[in-house]
Every structure is written in C-alpha cells, then in structure tokens.
C-alpha cells in the first residue's frame, strides 16, 4: 500500500515539474528533447536498476562508478574494428562487472564485512585496475558495430530491457521474493529456510553485472573506454533508487520506483541545463533533492 502511495506521489511530482518546465521553456516538451532526457538517464538507469537489488537486501554498493570505468576499458580493448564480433566486448564488460560484484558479495557474506566498507574498497581498487589496464589513457578506436550500442535509441532499449527483466524477476521469481524477505527481516528470512548468503551474493553479482553493462553502453556512447569515467555515478544511481521509494534499510521498493526516480532526476538535470543554471546551483539543487528524498523515506519507515 505504502509503496503505491509513494509512487503515485512521485508521478505527480514528475508531472508537476514537467508542466512547470514546459511553460518556462517550451522546448522541454519537444520530442527530441524528451528523447534526450530518456537517453541521458539510460546509463544511470541501468546502474540504478542494478543497485536496486542490493538496496532491497538492505545493503549498498559504492563501487558502481569504478566498475563502469573498468568494464568500459575492458570492453574497449576488445572492440577495435575487425578484432572480435561485437558480442565479445559486451560479454567481457558485463563479466568483469559481474566479477567485481561477486567479489563484493563474497566479502559481505562470507567475510561479514559491512557492505559500505567492502564496496568502498572495490571503488578504489577497480579504479586502480582500470588505470593499470588502460595505461592511464583512454582506449579509443572502437569499431562501428560496438559504437552502435551507444548510438541513437539503443541505450534506451537496453535500459528498458533491463528494467523489464528485473521487474519480472523481482515480482515473479521466488528468488525475487527472497530478496525482499532478506531485506525486510533477515532473521525471519533465515528462520524460514531462505539461503540468505546466496540471495545476497546474487544481488551483488547482478548489480556488478549491470554496472558492467552500463560501462559498456557508456564506452560505446562516448566512443572510448575511459579509466576516469563514471566518477560519482554510484551516488546518482542510489539517489534515483531512493527517490523512487526503495528504502535504504531494505525490503521495500522496486524497479518501477527506480525508473520513476531516474526519470525525475533526468528531468531536473535537463531542466537546469535548459534554464542555463550554473553548475554550482545545479549541485546544490541535486543535493537538496537527494536529502529530501531520504528524509521522506525515513518518515515513511517510522509511520
């Protein structure tokens, strides 16, 4: 019940902001601009869907941005024209991401280290690996078929596909239900026979894999594998998820909310750019919205 209410509130907020923007800057409502917005949120959206899994279990993943960079670099290495069929760089990027996520998951479950710390460590380490693998320079000269992934509406399609599959998984698969249970009350989940460690491992691995996919799409979009890409992406992704109604303590929320949250952030970013608001103020506005969303989330928990 509560999640529907918050989703509804989100839709209303989205419509209001959209309406206000279109009055002040009519160009907002044009098809090319709206397409831009959706395209610009696609990569963050993919990351946000991925981290939704982790947040649902009550954990967190701060390494998203670095994994994006690392998988982008790895994918780029395999994506030079004529080297490999395009499936190879894509698979390589996603697998690298999954590996990072898997490591995160293992240390969290077996090592019993707090997710914040583990993923913070991965954030630093993965960035280092990206720099080593790339020699500190962007990996350019990417083939046409790879670059296609980042062009036009393809990132949007990837985002939508990822969202749909995740939505189905979380609502209809037993594994998805278990995810919610682990986040909602880990002790009760264990006492009900759920393999809590396995569920968490799955969540972190999938989050890493999706971050890897995001890295692949980003590399395709900017046509290079950049070891410095993605800085701060994890915060944007988590913000989108929290704004969308998934609770930071786990057990509540879902992909639908994440999509709305990502949209809201994209619209606000786009609006601020259209209005030519200086970067400083943009940062302040974003910060206020994130804190506001988390505050609302906490109030929901209490009631």
């Amino acid at each position: 019940m509560k999640t529907w209410l918050s989703r509804f509130g989100l839709v209303v907020a989205l419509l209001c902001i959209g309406a206000a923007l279109s009055i002040v800057k009519p160009v907002f409502l044009t098809f090319p601009n709206l397409l831009n917005v959706v395209r610009q949120i696609s990569i963050n959206g993919i990351l946000a869907v991925g981290v939704t899994y982790v947040l649902l279990t009550g954990g967190v993943d701060l390494s998203l941005g670095s994994v994006v960079a690392l998988s982008g670099v790895v994918a780029a290495i395999f994506a030079h024209p004529g080297d490999w069929p395009v499936i190879v760089p894509v698979a390589a990027g996603v697998l690298v991401g999954a590996a990072c996520g898997g490591i995160n998951g293992l240390v969290v479950t077996k090592g019993r280290v707090a997710p914040f710390i583990v993923t913070l460590g991965m954030m630093t380490a993965a960035r280092g690996v990206a720099l080593v693998v790339s020699g500190g320079k962007p990996v350019s000269n990417l083939g046409e078929s790879f670059r296609w992934i980042g062009s036009g509406g393809v990132p949007v399609i990837v985002f939508l596909a990822v969202s749909c599959v995740s939505w189905v998984l979380l609502s209809n698969l037993r594994l998805g239900r278990h995810l919610y249970a682990v986040g909602g009350n880990e002790n009760a989940a264990r006492a009900s026979g759920i393999n809590v460690e396995g569920v968490k491992l799955f969540a972190y691995t999938i989050c890493g894999a999706l971050a890897g996919l995001g890295g692949v799409v980003l590399a395709a979009r900017i046509t290079t594998g950049q070891p410095n890409a993605g800085v701060g992406y994890e915060l944007d992704a988590i913000a989108a998820v929290v704004i969308g109604g998934t609770s930071l303590s786990g057990g509540v929320g879902g992909v639908g909310g994440t999509i709305l949250g990502a949209l809201l952030m994209g619209v606000i970013n786009n609006g601020l750019d259209l209005l030519n608001v200086s970067s400083y103020y943009q940062a302040i506005v974003k910060g206020i919205i994130i804190v506001g969303a988390v505050w609302l989330d906490q109030r929901k928990e209490k009631s």
Binding site: V27, N36, I222, Q226, Y280
Partner: protein
C-alpha cells in the same frame, strides 16, 4: 606499541637505504597533479626520458588532485634532502605552502605547467591564456568575426580553467561580432560534455555557431553530440590539449582544431632547468613553451 616502533624503524631504515644507493647521483623529487590525466602522463614520461639521458634520478609522486597530499609529498622530499623539487601544482593557492616550505628549506623548486601564488625558484610551462587565445582567434577567423559561441569549462576553480576562461574572454572582447551565449562546466569530462551539448542543442539549437571546450575530452563529447544530431557541419568545435583521440579527429576532419600543449617540451624543460640550478649554472626563471594550433593541415606533425 611494539608494532609502532617496528614500523618507525622500518621507515627510517628504508629512508637511509634510499640515500645510500643514490650517493653521488642527483636526486629530484617530482609531485604531479594527477596521473590519470593523459597530458600529465605524457609530462611524466618526458621527464623520465630526460632524466635517464642526463643520469639523474627522479622520485615521482601522484598527488591525485589533492593539494593537501601534494604539500605532504613535498615535505617528505624536503626531509629526504633531495637536490631539487619539480612541482606540477594542483591549485594556485592551496599548493603554495609546498613552494614556501621548499624555499625555506633551501631546496630549489620548479613549477611545471601550472602556477602557484607563491613564487618558485623557476617556472616552466605554457601560458594557458595563450591556448584559449589561439582557439578563439581560430574561431573568429572561421566565422569571419561574427557569430555565437558557447564555452565548456573545466572544473571551476582549477588554475587551467581560470586561465583559459580569461584568455577566451579577453580574446572575445576583441571581436565585437562574436557573442558568448552560454557557458557551463562539464568538468573536463567527455560524457558530461556530451549531455551538456545535447541539452544546449535543445535550448539554443541553430543559434550556436561555435563551441570552445577548454579541453579535448569535452570537445570530443560535444563533437559526438553534434554529429549524432546531424549538426556538425554547421558548428565549429575547438578543444585544447591535442590528445591522440583529438588529433585523429582533427586529421579526419571531424574536429576543427585543437591546441597542442607541448607536454614533452614542458617535461624536458623542467628537468633541464632543475639540473641547471643544481649545477649552479645560470638559468632563466620563466621558461615559456609555446602552444601550437593544430588543424587538419598540420595534424600529421603531431600524430606520433
């Protein structure tokens, strides 16, 4: 407690060991702004090559964009009594204590590529204002002195951003027909620049005649956005740095121009200057390595 003592002992010993092996060789401490920046990587490489040629040993540290860390690194160099320090400053103000400490300790310190408020023993670099001036003059030439320009800034507050901004605006003032209709920071980042350009295309559309991006990463991002919107042939894009991606793009006729910052020249120059000072030979306190405009005609020259 025991562990602490052991650690301190190890540190002291390693410091000693280092000194022993370098007895007789000139030792220069180098603190670089950020080794994940391609330009600085080239700077570093040039310094190492030159140092090897001259038989000089370098200790190289990466300050990872933190002025704090840079000051600490310089303090360590001072404690190690290096013969000279080459500093690639993070920030004009916040990296100044490093310079002051070195001078107070009697160790020559040379700034390379960027300036600090405090005056070093010597400076090797390029005038960032000049890079922007070259870029803007090129734009003015191409537009015949009339048109609308948008500018993408780097991280607000960094020395390079401040200088390139000033250079650009001073040059613009000389061409009354050129108007700056929008400026925003894309934080030196290709992806952010791409998004920014896409949004500008929406809000400003056909009004844009030229884009000046304060570095090539952002120029590439803007370029991609324009190409995807099919507007590239109507807009001139110029960057700064001449990274390999940009050079390829200029040669291919996609990017209109970039400005070559001679990393090799600066790196070599810094080491040469340091050695001169150590050998107590006469030296110039300010060595300026000129920027060079790179267009399709001369792109080949820079492509190796």
């Amino acid at each position: 407690m025991k562990r602490l003592l052991a650690f301190i002992l190890a540190l002291a010993l390693s410091g000693c060991a280092q000194r022993k092996s370098d007895e007789g060789r000139v030792l220069i401490g180098v603190s670089l702004l950020n080794l994940s920046n391609e330009f600085i990587v080239m700077l570093h490489r040039a310094m190492e090559t030159r140092a090897a040629e001259l038989g000089v040993k370098l200790i190289v540290n990466d300050a990872q964009r933190s002025a704090d860390r840079q000051v600490q690194q310089v303090e360590t160099f001072i404690a190690q009594r290096v013969d000279a320090i080459i500093l690639n400053p993070c920030e004009v103000e916040a990296s100044s204590p490093a310079v002051e400490k070195a001078i107070a300790a009697g160790i020559p310190i040379i700034n390379v590529n960027s300036e600090t408020r405090a005056a070093p023993t010597a400076f090797v670099g390029s005038r960032d204002e000049e890079s922007a001036r070259l870029a803007m003059e090129y734009i003015a030439r191409r537009l015949d002195g009339r048109g609308n320009v948008v500018m993408m800034h780097g991280f607000m507050g960094q020395a390079a951003q401040i200088k390139r901004d000033r250079g650009a605006k001073d040059t613009l003032a000389k061409f009354p027909g050129l108007k700056l209709i929008a400026e925003q920071s894309a934080e030196w980042d290709r992806a952010k620049a791409m998004s920014l350009m896409e949004n500008w295309i929406q809000s400003l559309g056909a009004k844009i005649n030229a884009v000046f991006a304060q570095n090539d990463e952002m120029a590439m991002g803007a370029l991609l956005a324009l190409e995807q919107a099919g507007l590239k042939d109507k807009v001139i894009v110029v960057g700064v740095d001449a990274i390999s991606d940009a050079l390829q793009a200029v040669k291919a006729g996609r990017l209109d121009a970039t400005v070559f910052q001679d990393a090799r020249g600066q790196g070599q120059g810094a080491v040469d200057l340091a050695v001169k000072i150590i050998r107590k030979e006469p030296f110039e306190t300010q060595v300026y390595i000129p920027f060079q405009l790179v267009t399709r005609e001369n792109a080949d020259k820079y492509l190796n």
